[in-house]
């Protein structure tokens, strides 16, 4: 073959290979890339039931406890506002009198946009978490059952072509059906489009290390390859009998990477070098710390982390304030870590934080150690939430909506993620969204 012919054919082959469309699992040609304005998205489910008044309302004790006229902002990594000056109980030390120092030089509010009065679909935790991840408001979403409708993880993997390790869910524990949220039971979606999941305070604790932390290392080609080959034979024989068992779909390379990550996490946990927030003394802060490690290792396109320690507000208002302050501290650390420790994600990541539900206007009868009343979540005030987001395409220092002019719904968060990662039209076409759900970008 002449040199010129060879070059010509090689060039044509190259162009052809690039140009040949490939069919995604969702049946679509090509993954959407051009329309995605953010390359990475981190969604913080600021959950556990955050009362509007003490969070974005910055009322501290003024609204919740009779005879305690002390307002103030205890979330000064997220929100602009002056911290309380009296009756400080949410910090560290004896009685919590020392507030945790601010991490971010600029609040997320200054860096991004706040939707200050958003409507929740439910006043309960699990249904609320589902409404964030599914973008729907389906009735009959039972506890201890997987989401009824597809989750954002499944939309991304099915229509966006993202691989399994591109999509992560880091839970703050295994209670409350949290481990069931990484994929739905929907017959057209399901586990093969699900997210990878860790509940780090369980996965990497000493007990789990005893069972998972001393794995034998096998040669990938000489040992693991024939092992998998025999497994395939056994599975094929079994599937001929009508039973199939779908898997999450991590490739062998992805599995090896996850195993290596787990090994490193065991080491870091034992050495105390996990990227935890400066103050890490509850489950939420540990979840965020390990989420930072997942971001550093996998650089996923989408990661969700859930928090829930504020839920102690049912019986301990002081503890609730303390957890709220720590949740703000942890999110500040998360955003700071992305910008300073993960260069591949710095400057091209969007963060969205949103509670799943609020808390009641009226207190219950339970008093805590400071004789402060506690709050449940069941009335109209529980449907009052907010959302904050920041990133390269998010307008800075913008506040949208007010108490008399609510804008946005909890399900908007999911469609916003879909919007940022290029599958918004697919999600809308799928037809499972709650009525009036929109991308936050469409509400700007």
């Amino acid at each position: 073959m002449k040199r010129r012919d060879f070059i010509k054919k090689a060039a044509l082959t190259t162009v052809g290979t690039i140009g040949i469309p490939y069919i995604l699992p969702g049946g679509r040609l090509f993954a959407q890339t051009g329309s995605s304005s953010g390359q990475h998205v981190v969604l913080v489910m600021f959950a556990g039931g955050v009362r509007h008044q003490e969070s974005i309302g910055m009322r501290y004790l003024d609204d919740a406890q009779v005879g305690e006229p002390y307002p103030g902002n205890i979330m000064y990594n997220l929100l602009n506002g002056t911290a309380p000056t009296q009756k400080i109980v949410y910090g560290t030390g004896q009685g919590g009198i020392s507030p945790i120092p601010q991490i971010l030089g600029q609040t997320l509010q200054q860096q991004g946009t706040i939707f200050s009065e958003v409507k929740a679909h439910y006043a309960g935790h699990y249904a609320g978490l589902n409404s964030i991840l599914q973008g729907s408001s389906i009735n009959g979403q039972g506890l201890r059952s997987r989401p009824v409708n597809p989750t954002i993880f499944e939309y991304l993997r099915r229509y966006g072509g993202y691989k399994a390790t591109d999509v992560w869910f880091v839970g703050n524990g295994i209670d409350g059906s949290v481990p069931l949220l990484n994929y739905s039971n929907h017959p057209d979606y399901g586990i093969q489009y699900g997210a990878n999941f860790f509940a780090p305070i369980v996965t990497f604790n000493q007990i789990s290390q005893n069972y998972l932390g001393n794995g034998k290392v096998y040669h990938p080609e000489n040992e693991l390859a024939p092992m998998y080959k025999m497994k395939v034979f056994l599975d094929n024989n079994f599937s001929q009998n009508g039973a199939t068992l779908h898997a999450l779909g991590n490739t062998e390379e992805e599995k090896q990477s996850i195993k290596m990550f787990m090994g490193q996490m065991y080491e870091k946990t034992n050495m105390g070098t996990v990227a935890l927030p400066p103050l890490a003394d509850n489950g939420d802060s540990y979840a965020v710390g390990y989420a930072c490690e997942v971001l550093k290792w996998f650089k996923p396109k989408f990661l969700t982390v859930n928090l829930s320690d504020v839920d102690q507000c049912h019986s301990n208002f002081t503890g609730y304030l303390s957890s709220l302050h720590r949740a703000d501290h942890s999110v500040g650390h998360l955003w700071n870590y992305i910008q300073t420790q993960v260069p591949e994600m710095a400057g091209n990541t969007t963060i969205i934080a949103i509670p799943e539900c609020g808390r009641n206007d009226e207190a219950n009868a339970i008093l805590d150690q400071n004789n402060w009343l506690s709050y449940d979540h069941s009335d109209a005030n529980s449907m009052r939430i907010w959302s904050i987001m920041a990133g390269p395409t998010v307008p800075s220092n913008l506040v949208i909506g007010s108490e008399n002019n609510p804008i946005g719904r909890v399900s908007d968060a999911m469609l916003t993620v879909a919007d940022l990662l290029g599958v918004k039209s697919n999600v809308i076409s799928a037809g499972f969204l709650a009525h009036d759900t929109q991308s936050f970008f469409d509400l700007l």
Partner: protein, 203 residues
């Protein structure tokens, strides 16, 4: 005289003869022969006596009671019957028993169930767990030499241990060929494959 009366009379006569005067049998026979000439009655009496004796002897036999039994046969599941997915707790408990030939404590089963629940990719979680188990010297399995000495028996025992059934001929042939053609295939890797298989997830 009807036949029944005749038989009864003859039976009585013979019985008396047998018990009282066995030596008279000869005489009685002579008498019969004399009577043969004159009448058929003696012949009938002899026949009747014989029948009576037969009946008498037969009536003394003990009744035999019929005894119905089944042979002991080992039964194994068919893979088609496995339709229920094991829970994490069931899986780890059975796996440990299969590998170590001893049972796990309830507390350990509970802890392992929570550990597995904390990972999203359950297949990966099982793989890591099994690799940890194989790092324990207590796993009960044949050596590679023992396996290669009788691969057929090894395959049958492996199917019975993990799948609680016998392999089909096709399965046996494929697995045997695979082991023979892969120099790195050890009993450990065979066990690993079976413990990771979908069929092992069902019961």
């Amino acid at each position: 005289m009807n036949t029944q009366d005749s038989m009864n009379k003859e039976k009585k006569f013979v019985s008396q003869l047998l018990t009282d005067k066995p030596s008279a049998l000869q005489q009685s026979a002579s008498v019969c022969r004399e009577k043969e000439i004159s009448s058929p009655l003696p012949e009938l009496l002899g026949f009747a006596a014989l029948a009576a004796a037969t009946v008498s002897l037969a009536s003394c036999k003990k009744d035999q009671e019929a005894l119905f039994e089944v042979n002991n046969v080992m039964l194994y599941d068919n893979s088609a019957d496995k339709s229920k997915l094991k829970s994490n707790e069931q899986y780890v408990s059975i796996l440990y028993t299969n590998l170590f030939q001893t049972a796990l404590s309830n507390n350990t089963v509970f802890e392992l169930g929570k550990t597995l629940l904390s990972l999203g990719d359950q297949e990966l979680a099982r793989e890591v767990l099994i690799s940890n188990f194989f790092n324990d010297a207590g796993v009960q399995m044949p050596t590679a030499d023992e396996m290669n000495a009788d691969i057929d028996a090894f395959i049958v025992e492996t199917y019975k241990r993990f799948f609680v059934r016998l392999p089909s001929e096709a399965e046996k042939t494929w697995v045997k060929n695979f082991i023979e053609r892969n120099a790195y295939m050890t009993p450990e890797l065979v066990y690993f494959s079976f413990a990771m298989s979908n069929e092992y997830m069902y019961y």
